[in-house]
Symmetry: C2
Subunit: 315 residues, 2 copies
Amino acid sequence: MTAAPSSLTRKAIIREVGLRDGLQSIATIVPTERKREWLRDAVAAGQTEIEVGSFVPARLMPQLADTEEVLAYAKTLPGLFASVLVPNLRGAERALEGDADLMILPLSASHAHSLANLRKTPDDVVAELGRIRAARDASGRKTLIEGGVGTAFGCTIQGHVEESEVLRLMQALLDAGADRVSLADTVGYADPASVGRLFEKALKIAGDRFCCGHFHDTRGLALVNVHAALQLGVSRFDASLAGIGGCPHAPGASGNASTEDLAFMLEAMGIDTGLHIPALLALRAKVAGWLDGEPTHGTLWRAGLPKTFATPATA
Amino acid sequence: MTAAPSSLTRKAIIREVGLRDGLQSIATIVPTERKREWLRDAVAAGQTEIEVGSFVPARLMPQLADTEEVLAYAKTLPGLFASVLVPNLRGAERALEGDADLMILPLSASHAHSLANLRKTPDDVVAELGRIRAARDASGRKTLIEGGVGTAFGCTIQGHVEESEVLRLMQALLDAGADRVSLADTVGYADPASVGRLFEKALKIAGDRFCCGHFHDTRGLALVNVHAALQLGVSRFDASLAGIGGCPHAPGASGNASTEDLAFMLEAMGIDTGLHIPALLALRAKVAGWLDGEPTHGTLWRAGLPKTFATPATA
């Protein structure tokens, strides 16, 4: 590992979304005990932020029906910051009951995608965030609220999404009480130039409250899009082990940025992720085994680390 | 397509290496008539620079035994700049006889890789370039000479390769009479930070005579490495259709940057490649069919172009 250029962040956080964004698009139901094992191994490999599930109705997403138990277990792991996705106030109430460290409310900047995926307009979601903020404040919990603006670079239903609309909705989420906001390229339409343009404007609006970039590798650009955002000072990125995941409304989507490939890129660049890559690769092999027959992604698991790459002796 | 940021190149050239670097690592022998069809379709899709083969002994690389015929055909295609790889003076003489537009002499900065792959030390290769320059000058041909410095970021045999050694050899190639030089990450060890560091120094040494970056996607970083080099003003990159290729001395190597994915990235960024992506994808499907059973790579062929991507109506 060599020193990073001074303009780049020295440390970055990879937020694991495999247990939520990954598993929600996979038919196989991973038993709760295996999810606990995944969390244990992930923390042992150095992961400190994990999205452990989603408080959606179990009938809609049986893969994540055990989110309450998984969250409860995650809360017992020292040093782990556990987040959950919440689609609405009801989900947020469950996140507050479970004392999640963070709840993420997804908003789709594409009106068509929002109606298809959430059955609400984006502005309805902004209003829901206001109600969630009130509930959080009334609860006495410290659970943070993140407004995640998805389909920020376009969508497969509507096509083009206006940059100004993405930024308007991000500002509206902040005004409605979001502690943080993030941007997601839900369907893999972003490129390094569009990431540079949109993230620069988002950072001007949200400042320190801009917390994360979420990229899908549908067209092979997840890592280069991370690189474009890194250059603006963004230092937290969502990724999923084995690159699992996708969007039910994004046909052909090939998953999230792969955690292990992203960790390799960042560490090779001299950016400290706190992750032990051989331990991540061992966990990847285990999870890929559980998901036998499901599509997995990434390259590092096959090629291995370069001979020139220095890793610490133990996790 | 939107305008590229002013700091980035407005135009870039993707040099096709599928017919050489791609086919040389694939067991299937593609018949000469199909190579002609590949060249025709590639030119129709807008490709203007193609490495058509390698003047190595046919017994060592039967896949490329027809390079003389393929080069002769390439020379009949208007607007095509046809290059060949030459391992030594004998190969260069054949390139001159065939009136290639460019001959590329590969040098491996890793001494161990150089001995294993070329049975020469890097400095022996520099001396050979001097002899090739003399032969070219005596021939009256206009064939350009490129010195390609490979294993520039390390190698699977020796591991670490000193940056200073890479730069020394690049300077030596220029001093020996190379018209141009290029850098190759032969085994997929580069990352955006190491690309930034080495390419910046190489550009200081070679200036306008620095012509090309060659990246392998072994660990998923080919496109992000292109992005790092683009930011320094580099505007020519090697790539192979369907990402075919690899290095016989790089186990697990997963091929070159994929032409179609790279074209998509550049065009999405507003950088003009002159390529018609749907025509490239049609050619990719054809070539993948010829290589039935061989590993191919890339993502765009599966996902398709985004709904938001504007392409010209005809090739």
